[in-house]
Every structure is written in structure tokens, then in C-alpha cells.
Symmetry: none
Subunit: 208 residues, 2 copies
């Protein structure tokens, strides 16, 4: 039909993405989907194969000619590996802050403990989403710790040099060498010991 009968398919709605609830103007689900598909570099045909939805159906959804069923939406989210909030949250809010903080090698802020020698990075910036630091792992034995280390958030760890054993509450210990990395939930008990001749050097990034 040439006379677009764009009846308002979408009323306004609120979505709470992370921790803040934001009111989002009438969501253009179709528009949003198209954006996502484009950034994934997919054609309708490819998206069709990934999602199991017909190419024509995808087209109609993108052009807001139909309102997909929940079923269809599930196929979308699973097929394209996105999660539902992503489908709704507006793509951009330009908070063009332009912060930058450089930390030269060995010039972070030292913070020694009995088991680690931490070197905090990027301490000039506050309100960061991530906390990066390098650590020299001095612990050599399980008994160097009194209990699991456990805290909020998620943690990423990369071995910069040496070799360590990574203990965690729900898994068997693993050895990690230079270049190896782990990502884990930090509320799961965890601890590290060096097993190389020299104390291992670790890069750590935490987010909560």
C-alpha cells in the first residue's frame, strides 16, 4: 500500500537498563533492529538464517509494518546474540566527556599487601567504570591466604609475566602462563599464587 497507514504501533515506555530507569520516547523497534543488523554487517537473508525468521518478516519488522510476537523477538535476540534490553535501549546518548589518564610503566600508585603488590593505574580519573591495576603476586601457597577473596563485580585478569595458579571456589585450580587470561565473577571466592621462579605479574581489571 502506498498510503502508509502507520498507525502508532508503539506507545511510549520506560526501560531500565542498568541501574537507572530512563524514559524512552516511543521506541522504534524496527529502526533499532535495523541498526543492530547493520552494525553486525548482516543482510536480511543472513539475519533470516541466524534467527529463523523469514526475510520478509524481518523487513516488515524493520519497517514497522508489523509488531513481532514475543516468539519472534526471542528468535531475534537469540539469533543475533543480543539481549532484550539492548533491543529497547536507545543506541546513543552522547555524554561527550573526554577524559583521559595515562599511567606510565611502574608509575602507578603502589599499594602493597602481604600477598600482592598492587600498582593502581589511572588513579587520576574518578568515577570510572573499571579499576585497572597491575599486581605482583607474592603469595606462594594456599596458606598465605586466610580466606577466599570475594567482592562485588566482575574481574578480568591477564598474566603479563611468570606463571600462577588460579584457585576459585567452584572450579578446579588452573595454571596460567604469560598471555593467558581469565574472566570471572568476583563474588565467587578466588585467589592466586605464583608458581614461577620470579613472582608473577598480573594485569587486573575490575568492574562493578
Amino acid at each position: 500500500m502506498s498510503e502508509t497507514q502507520q498507525h502508532d504501533i508503539y506507545p511510549s515506555m520506560t526501560v531500565s537498563t542498568d541501574n537507572k530507569t530512563e524514559k524512552i520516547a516511543p521506541i522504534k523497534l524496527g529502526e533499532r533492529l535495523k541498526e543492530i543488523r547493520k552494525t553486525l554487517g548482516l543482510t536480511l537473508e543472513e539475519a533470516s538464517q541466524k534467527t529463523g525468521l523469514a526475510r520478509s518478516t524481518l523487513s516488515k519488522i524493520e519497517n514497522e509494518q508489523i509488531s513481532p510476537t514475543f516468539q519472534a523477538m526471542q528468535k531475534l535476540t537469540t539469533g543475533l546474540q543480543i539481549d532484550i534490553p539492548q533491543l529497547f535501549s536507545a543506541p546513543k546518548k552522547v555524554t561527550a566527556t573526554g577524559r583521559r589518564d595515562i599511567t606510565r610503566n611502574e608509575e602507578g600508585k603502589a599499594h602493597p599487601t602481604s600477598t600482592y603488590e598492587h600498582e593502581l593505574l589511572a588513579i587520576q580519573l574518578t568515577n570510572k567504570k573499571m579499576m585497572p591495576f597491575k599486581s605482583k603476586v607474592r603469595a606462594r601457597d594456599f596458606s598465605d591466604y586466610s580466606a577466599w577473596i570475594r567482592h562485588d563485580g566482575e574481574e578480568f585478569l591477564l598474566v603479563l609475566s611468570g606463571e600462577i595458579t588460579f584457585f576459585s571456589e567452584f572450579y578446579e585450580p588452573v595454571n596460567l602462563q604469560q598471555g593467558d587470561s581469565v574472566y570471572y565473577d568476583a563474588n565467587m571466592g578466588h585467589m592466586l599464587i605464583s608458581i614461577s621462579d620470579d613472582d608473577a605479574l598480573i594485569l587486573w581489571v575490575t568492574a562493578s
Copy 2:
């Protein structure tokens, strides 16, 4: 009909899980909706008035006899003043997830571009707060880029080997050597080039 004709409305769906991508039971949207309605102390009739959906329709949704359209879902969320994620991530809030994902050296998922060779780490885990990856910086000149790279979130970068120049929109270029790191807002235009003989190797962690 007393013989429940439960045709599978909801395909299985994977939700953020352990390092072994686990298939979580099909989301019981209906069940969830019923829970919500009950805690709000509403009858189907009242919910019907609030949402504008027929009482019968609500019943069918709750009993998983139909898969609501997105339109219907919006009426639900606006009418009952809930947000979408709430509809899905129902009885969760299991704080003690114990996810863990190890990526051995060089065994991340390759993702080459004209300027970088990215190696994505910890790809088994979804719904991460951070996205870690290593990159070999192939770009050698400003002109290798067509425009500033800019995206949501914050970024932390550590030079694993080699030397780079870090260009950014609001600052003078700086050279970074092995062990040096930067933390910056990724919506500020940025780009990297290698200036060492060998292509520099970078660790990158993004959070948004």
C-alpha cells in the same frame, strides 16, 4: 479442553550463564506475568483495564497459550508500570553466579580489520560488564583511518609489547611503550598506530 495442548510456544533460549553456554529453560513469560500481577494484587479484569488488553488475552498469555505481540507487551509494561527486563529476568538476582572463562594465550577469537587484528577474550561468557581483547596494531599512519573511532563506554588500554602513538580528539598524541597504559572515554575520538619495528600488541578492556 482439559488435555493441555501446550504446544511449545517458547523456543529454548540461552541466557548469560557459565563458561559453558548453558541452555536455560524456556522463559516462562506467562508464569512471570502472573507473578507480577499477583504481587500487584490485581485481578485479570483490573489488569485488563490497566493494560487495555482483553481479560481473555491476559489469561491466555499467562497460561502460555499464545505468544503476545510486541504491541501487547508494551501495553503490559506501560499498564502495569514494569519494564521489560523485569518481565524476563524473573526469579533471578542470584548474586552468587560463579562464572569463569579462561582464554589461553593466542586462543581468543580472531577478528581482523584493516587496522587491527583483534583477538577477543572470554567470549564464552555473555552479559559481561567488560569486553577484553588483545589487538595487534597494524595501522602505521594516521591515514590508515578514515575517521575517529568512537563508541559508547570507557576503555582501558595497556601496551603489552612494541610502541604506539595514541591519538585522541581532545589531547595531543602521546607515545606509549610496553607497560604504559591509558584509561579514556571511548566516545572521545581515538585511534592508535604502531611505531615500533614490530606491530605493537595491546590489551584492551572496554566497559559500557
